[in-house]
């Protein structure tokens, strides 16, 4: 077990896959000579050469479509889209092709494709570079969506993705790339659809994923000062969603706060909240609360950007209101 950064966990896991399976290739904008825009693929070109680590034109749609076709043709493509913001140019390929081919073909075609992309805000990159659109992808049957929080998640979820026959989208958080944590080596994998109870508590359940687990954990610390013991869930995958763990926790704590960087209006926090209502209504002592990003394009100025993102204090305050 080593202590490594989130980006390093991703890099090591991809490296192992490239060694283990000839069919694995890595494609994307600036994944090779540049080393990846978040340095996740650094050094891989030198080790595996340009036939395996492939710099593409800035053509998101054909990058993803080419990955789908290559997966249909027997390869195991790993695609990096620089950020989730640019993935919108490939939305057609992801939604209309990757997610549909198995079904439309009556099960004749499978698409074992991994698409990694960076999401989230916090670096003052302004409105076109700071979005959290994972809820849009989670909305779609036919794909799976993983949202690692820790370096351990990053390795474990990517390893599971590498054994999948289906298209998997991995949304990484830009604010987490440099964070370190313990990562088991070897065959360690995290199955999809299994949330982590990252902190135990009996008074309220704080539900987060990716970057928002961080705010939830901080909020749990703040809450102990008020004598409230919060349980914190790290969802790890949005599709499939681990409804069982969410509901079991809420049955114990009788209260829930969902924390998400994304916009509240029409967002994934609403899905979780509705699921709790459907499955555990009688166990709730208070309405489910949502702490989400402000309903605005993400602004540039530091104080405005911070005001637009959920904070640990907001999460703690929301939890206290439920008591």
């Amino acid at each position: 077990m080593a202590e490594i950064a989130y980006r390093e966990a991703l890099r090591q896991t991809m490296r192992e896959a490239l060694i283990a399976d000839e069919r694995v290739i890595l494609m994307g904008e600036d994944v090779g000579a540049y080393g990846g825009s978040y340095a996740v693929t650094k050094g891989l070109l030198d080790e595996f050469g340009p036939d395996r680590i492939i710099d593409t034109p800035i053509s998101e749609s054909v990058i993803v479509g080419c990955g789908i076709g290559a997966a249909m043709g027997g390869l195991r493509p790993l695609i990096e889209l620089m950020t989730i913001n640019f993935s919108l140019l490939a939305f057609d390929q992801i939604v209309n092709n990757a997610a549909k081919l198995s079904y439309m073909s009556g099960g004749q075609i499978s698409v074992p494709l991994i698409i990694r992309m960076a999401g989230g805000a916090g670096s003052q990159l302004a409105a076109q570079h700071s979005q959290s659109l994972e809820g849009w992808y989670a909305h779609i049957p036919g794909i799976k969506v993983a949202v690692p929080y820790s370096p351990r998640d990053a390795r474990g979820l990517l390893r599971t993705a590498l054994t999948e026959q289906n298209p998997v989208i991995i949304i990484e958080h830009t604010a987490l790339y440099a964070r370190k944590g313990e990562v088991p080596d070897g065959d360690y994998a995290i199955p999809f659809g299994e949330a982590e109870v990252i902190r135990q508590g009996s008074d309220v359940t704080l539900i987060g994923y990716s970057g928002s687990v961080f705010q939830a954990l901080q909020a749990a610390d703040l809450l102990t000062e008020s004598g409230v013991e919060a349980e914190v869930l790290n969802l790890r995958t949005l599709r499939p969603l681990d409804v069982g763990t969410i509901v079991a926790s809420v049955r114990r704590t009788n209260r829930a706060v969902v924390v998400e960087d994304d916009w509240k209006f029409g967002g994934f926090a609403g899905e979780i909240s509705a699921t709790i209502m459907e499955e555990a209504f009688d166990d709730l002592d208070a309405p489910v609360a949502r702490v989400c990003g402000a309903d605005v394009p993400i602004p540039y100025a530091k104080e405005l950007e911070q005001a637009a993102l959920p904070s640990a204090q907001q999460v703690a305050d929301a939890a206290l209101k439920l008591m």
Partner: protein, 333 residues
């Protein structure tokens, strides 16, 4: 256009192959007439896009390829599937939305798939399948399996970004793919001359530094010869090639189209160039077939089409369990 028109028929094709191409064109025409009838009788619903008038393209091009070369096509896909040898009964069953259909009744007319025959599907997002064809060609190139890809689309696709992204990628990576544009001059009701800055589609491909030419899409032998030549270079590793087949669809865009946007005389002009009639005449002129052979072919396709319709009609509807099947592939890879 091509040199071939000077020759009667390609010297290296034996007469059975020449006749088989006629039979395939007749089968497509008859199959779709039956499909139109079944649509009118409420057996087929949704969009039904007929290929009538364009048969020479699919038959000429697909017969010039190996059986394991991959095909990707658009939603006007019955002709390509039949030319590849996909079972007519299972195609008709798919149009009927039956469990026995090629796509288990989940795709319909626009989404025929037969992976066993390397028929990689019909796609209904204009130009959305060009990137997939690139990816399949990329896999073939990597695996060194000698297979190439034929990617078919309409004139409407050439103004989509995915068209340009795909041609560029295919050219820069020298991918083994033939892009085949079926230029029937209309995208639904929009005349290409009203929406394209350059109406000679093949010229667009020249911008991506690949061999590109215009072919008479009403002439099956020209299609065959042009595709065969393109395939030779593509298979040899020279990179992609582009063909623009000039054609015309005799019927509306889909069954729902009242055809307000074009003149009857225009359609009549093209109907005079019917690819089946002209090919039949050519084969008779050169003594490859006589009236008797033609009648036998007619009776043969009639029987196949009737059997297909009966198979579809007597096939089971999908059961309720089917709804949630095939969303994900289950086996670990």
């Amino acid at each position: 256009m091509t040199q071939l028109s000077e020759h009667a028929v390609p010297q290296d094709l034996d007469s059975s192959h020449l006749v088989e191409m006629l039979r395939q064109m007749m089968l497509i025409r008859r199959f779709e007439d039956k499909a139109a009838e079944m649509y009118a009788r409420g057996r087929i619903a949704g969009f039904l896009h007929l290929y009538s008038g364009e048969e020479a393209i699919a038959v000429g091009a697909i017969n010039a390829l190996n059986d394991d070369d991959h095909l990707f096509t658009h939603y006007r896909d019955h002709g390509h599937a039949l030319a590849r040898g996909v079972d007519p009964g299972r195609i008709m069953a798919e149009l009927f939305g039956r469990e026995t259909g090629v796509s288990r009744g989940k795709g319909g007319s626009m989404h025929l798939f037969d992976v066993e025959r390397s028929f990689m599907g019909g796609y209904a997002i204009v130009a959305g399948h060009l990137p997939l064809a690139c990816g399949m060609a990329f896999a073939n190139q990597r695996l060194g399996n000698g297979r190439i890809v034929l990617c078919v689309f309409g004139d409407g696709a050439v103004n989509e970004g995915e068209f340009h992204e795909s041609l560029n990628l295919a050219a820069v990576w020298k991918l083994p793919v033939i892009f085949l544009c079926e230029n029937n001059f209309y995208g639904m009701g929009t005349d290409i001359r009203r929406v394209s800055a350059v109406i000679e589609v093949y010229k667009r491909a020249e911008a991506y530094a690949m061999p590109s030419r215009q072919v008479d899409g009403m002439n099956v032998l020209e299609m065959f010869e042009a595709t065969r030549r393109a395939a030779t270079g593509v298979r040899a590793g020279e990179g992609p090639a582009f063909l623009e087949a000039i054609t015309f669809r005799f019927r509306g865009h889909s069954m729902a189209d009242p055809e307000f946007y074009r003149r009857k005389e225009e359609t009549a002009h093209w109907r005079d160039l019917d690819p089946i009639n002209s090919y039949r005449a050519r084969l008779q002129q050169h003594g490859v077939i006589d009236n008797g052979t033609f009648e036998e072919l007619e009776a043969g396709v009639e029987a196949v089409v009737n059997a297909a319709a009966e198979f579809a009609e007597s096939s089971p509807h999908p059961g309720p369990q089917s709804l949630y099947e095939d969303i994900y592939a289950e086996e670990p890879r």
